[in-house]
């Protein structure tokens, strides 16, 4: 059905937000609450530039860069001023509210009369907006996933991952954990802002409330994605799981709103979907193995073995 495709198209854009939140929340283990501000920042920057006749591609890249700056600021607040992570994110988000108003010049910018990525490409490729959005969204997500996969396989990327897992070990191994956190947060918020830049072009307007509910969307996407793809070892496919989680979430919302269910019930539907996903993954787990596999959560204690394992190895 057509509305499902439209939901998927929206989901692919919000997937960028989910990837950004995944980066800070899971990989860096930093509860960064500034995403509602960063996504609006990306939308504000992109829409402001578009109204000044800047090319949409440049507008999108600028949004990414300014999002990186916002993330770096959160990082600096935490590492140099020793402000706790949650508070650092909230401070940045609070500041961004005013900054976004200044960038847009008002609380709302309409993009119907300026060329956006969607109108330009739609004209060039003679595709309907729905199919264009699906293709563009898929291409962008795959590109971002590939870049993240490459980046976290580099020395620098590995040191950022390690920072999120065990900071003490990192410092003992000569890693500047202040720097890795700042870089990690910069990339995270850059992706979130990138998401906002696409969203405002997709929906044809930007306003100061664009980010409302973003953190719930991001976390729900991650939870759904992780529940379904928990057994995946390859990082690229883990990222793919997050993207699919975002798409599923948006489809659920579209279905809820389509079938006359009250919007208030979106949240409880999300909860049911997550529970179902967790149930399915646990059940699939039990079928394939004799012993339950070790949990995939880094916060779990490693399996301290019983006597017999020690005797084998010691």
């Amino acid at each position: 059905m057509d509305f499902i495709f439209k939901g998927m198209a929206q989901g692919l854009i919000w997937a960028l937000l989910a990837l950004g939140v995944y980066l800070s929340y899971r990989i860096l283990d930093f509860a960064d609450l500034s995403c509602e501000g960063s996504i609006t920042l990306g939308a504000s920057m992109a829409s402001m530039l578009l109204t000044k006749n800047v090319s949409p591609i440049i507008a999108v890249l600028m949004a990414f860069l300014v999002g990186c700056v916002a993330g770096a600021i959160t990082g600096l607040l935490h590492t140099k001023l020793k402000i706790p992570p949650i508070l650092s994110g909230i401070l940045t988000m609070t500041a961004l509210f005013s900054i976004n108003l200044h960038i847009m010049g008002s609380a709302n910018i309409q993009l119907n009369s300026v060329p956006t990525l969607y109108t330009q490409l739609s004209g060039m490729l003679h595709l309907s907006k729905t199919y264009l959005s699906l293709i563009l969204g898929t291409v962008v997500c795959l590109a971002v996933m590939a870049m993240l996969y490459w980046f976290f396989g580099t020395e620098l990327g590995a040191s950022i991952r390690a920072t999120g897992i065990n900071e003490n070990m990192c410092r003992a191994q000569g890693i500047d954990t202040d720097l890795t956190k700042i870089i990690g947060l910069a990339i995270s918020n850059g992706l979130i802002a990138l998401s906002g830049a696409f969203i405002c072009q997709y929906q044809g307007y930007s306003n100061i409330n664009l980010g409302v509910g973003a953190i719930v969307i991001g976390l729900a996407s991650i939870i759904i994605g992780e529940a379904i793809f928990s057994k995946v070892k390859n990082f690229f496919f883990t990222l793919g799981g997050i993207v699919i989680g975002a798409v599923i979430y948006r489809i659920v919302v579209a279905v809820v709103l389509y079938f006359n269910m009250p919007t208030e019930d979106v949240k409880i539907m999300t909860a049911f979907v997550v529970i179902a996903a967790l149930f399915v993954s646990k059940y699939a787990n039990k079928i394939g193995k004799k012993h339950p596999a070790a949990k995939h959560d880094k916060k779990e204690e490693p399996s301290i073995p019983e006597e017999k394992e020690v005797k084998d190895n010691a």
Binding site: F151, G153, T154, E155, L156, G157, A158, S159, R161, A162, I165, N166, N168, M169, C170, R171, A172, Q173, G174, I175, D176, T177, A294, K298, E300, E301, P302, S303, I304, P305, E307, E309, V310, K311, N313, A314
Partner: protein, 273 residues
């Protein structure tokens, strides 16, 4: 006996006070002076609160010190933050979980350790050549880890993790190896195995080592030098033949003579068997 004149590690009048100015104020290191010469394998014992771990942490730069200087191979590292000093130092912690990244693979952990002291760039995090080298190093440990290099470290036992941490700490031939009761959390059999590996690694690489232990027998058996700490300073320093002839009773007597009090530590007493 010093082998050459420059100490590999020199702690000069190091002072560290915690909770200064409050009711809980404690001077953990009290004008501590200690020189380690290249090749020294020093065991450190002392009661609770004597300042042993604090001394190691001060050496590693985990916190800034309130007075004095720290020299490593002649370089004054007192003002360097922990991650900048790391290129000179290898560390193994008491908690087997602290020295490795649980959710990363064995080879990834080793790759990170291999880059200690070097700039981390956008080159790929591990090369095929390194994998071959790591496999060789792991097989020397004799724990079967060389066949599980892509397993996540979180799946390993405590002893395996400590052995791995030891390997990571010594990969780049550090100037100083700091061992903070690294077998204390292991059962006796594994502890013995890890100590055996420690001896091997230290002697093969001629590493200058500082090892804290609560086990007085181990303290006597391993290393060429033994120091005992009390209230933030070194009160006993025995090396060479004199050290080899020590018994546990000797240690207790030395302690009460040097500090004027009984050596009261349950763990030390209980592990003296």
């Amino acid at each position: 006996m010093p082998e050459n004149n420059t100490p590999m590690l020199s702690l000069k009048n190091v002072v560290k006070t915690f909770y200064a100015g409050t009711v809980n104020e404690k001077t953990a290191l009290n004008n501590l002076c200690l020189d380690l010469y290249p090749g020294d394998f020093v065991t450190v014992i002392g009661g609770n609160g004597a300042g042993k771990s604090t001394m190691l942490n001060a050496t590693a730069g985990v916190f800034p010190i309130d007075g004095g200087d720290v020299f490593i191979d002649g370089v004054n590292v007192t003002k360097l933050p922990e991650h900048k000093r790391a290129k000179y130092i290898g560390r193994v912690f008491q908690d087997p979980m602290m020295g490795t990244a649980a959710n990363m693979q064995i080879e990834e952990n080793l790759a990170i350790a291999a880059r200690r002291g070097k700039k981390r760039t956008l080159r790929w995090s591990i090369t095929q050549q390194e994998r071959a080298e790591f496999k060789k190093m792991l097989s020397i440990l004799g724990l079967g880890l060389e066949d599980r290099m892509t397993a996540k470290v979180g799946l390993l036992s405590g002893g395996q993790r400590q052995a791995l941490t030891l390997l990571m700490a010594t990969l780049n031939r550090p100037k100083i190896l700091l061992l903070d009761e690294h077998t204390a959390a292991l059962d006796p059999k594994t502890a013995a195995k890890v100590l055996e590996i420690t001896e091997k690694v230290v002697s093969e690489n001629k590493l200058t080592t500082l090892m804290i232990t609560h086990n007085m027998k181990d303290a006597i058996k391993h290393g060429n030098r033994l120091i005992m700490m009390h209230e933030g300073r070194v009160v006993v320093d025995v090396s060479g033949e004199e050290k080899q002839k020590l018994t546990v009773e000797d240690l207790l007597m030395l302690f009460s003579r040097a500090s004027g009090s009984e050596f009261a530590s349950d763990r030390a007493m209980l592990s003296a068997e």
